[in-house]
């Protein structure tokens, strides 16, 4: 991977397409893991590679909070994920057990728990660890951030 990918042409530079699965373990305001991962995704796709899944685990689930409302003049990590998910059809999977522990529930889950809530931002989905495992099986490379 070239250091300065922005100066390289957008045509695939490699004949081999590498499939990546990524994991994010820290919250958006705890580290720059999310931003680095997003930059990586942009570079990987520009290089002709494929990102199968981004799995949010541990405090990484806070990336998927629907009602995160940073001030207008600040960077919004959630928006960046949503743009990437839409542009590149990337699967943004949030671990159900890590999310429930921390109070992030999609409406279905909230209903099952007898609660009223709907915290999952658009573009993300709730998933289990089995789906992370399947994604690591399919991927050529697995990278953990945070």
């Amino acid at each position: 991977m070239p250091q300065d990918y922005k100066s390289t042409p957008l045509e695939p530079r490699h004949k081999i397409t590498v499939k990546f699965t990524l994991q994010i373990n820290s919250s958006p305001y705890q580290s720059n893991a999310g931003r680095t991962a997003c930059e990586f995704i942009i570079a990987a796709v520009a290089g002709g590679h494929q990102v199968l899944q981004v799995f949010f685990y541990h405090d990484g689930i806070y990336h998927a909070l629907k009602y995160a409302t940073p001030p207008d003049d600040e960077f919004s990590q959630i928006q960046q994920w949503q743009v990437l998910a839409k542009e590149y059809q990337i699967d943004l999977a949030v671990c159900i057990s890590a999310a429930q522990r921390r109070g992030l529930l999609c409406s279905d889950e909230a209903w099952r728990q007898g609660k009223q809530d709907n915290d999952l931002a658009d573009g993300f989905r709730i998933a289990g660890l089995g789906q992370l495992l399947a994604a690591t099986q399919e991927a050529d490379r697995f990278i953990v951030w945070g």
């Binding site: 994991q23 373990n25 685990y57 541990h58 057990s97 890590a98 522990r101 660890l129 089995g130 992370l132 495992l133 690591t136 099986q137 697995f142 953990v144």
Partner: protein
């Protein structure tokens, strides 16, 4: 089937981190994958004998480690320097482990297809 290595570097009861790593380890083992663990730095405390986590309101992760054998997870490696720097011996741990030296670690990791860092 792939070879998975879980690198545990945090102490036993640092929030839910160690417990959530064990969840992935158990899931991976339940999917019949080849699972090994490597304990580095403060991660060696996860296997320290005589933990009493109930005093600080945490789950007893030692019980989960002890159950790993049922899932055929028996390859547990510990870095010698991490133990020594913390005044510990392999005998202070509640599971049998294989001890590696720091200079062997990077070569050891290359034998795995998926490395989870935690």
């Amino acid at each position: 089937m792939k070879k998975y290595l879980f690198v545990l570097r945090k102490p036993a009861h640092s929030g839910a981190f160690a417990q959530e790593m064990l969840d992935i380890i158990l899931t991976t083992a339940a999917f019949d994958q080849h699972v090994s663990l490597l304990l580095l730095d403060d991660g060696v405390f996860q296997l320290k004998s005589g933990q009493q986590p109930e005093h600080c309101g945490y789950k007893d992760t030692a019980a989960i480690f002890n159950a790993l054998e049922l899932y055929d997870v028996t390859e547990i490696y510990v870095e010698a320097e991490s133990l020594a720097e913390r005044g510990m011996l392999a005998g202070n741990l509640f599971l049998p482990v294989q001890v590696l030296n720091r200079r062997e670690i990077s070569g050891f990791m290359q034998g795995f297809e998926v490395v989870f860092s935690g």
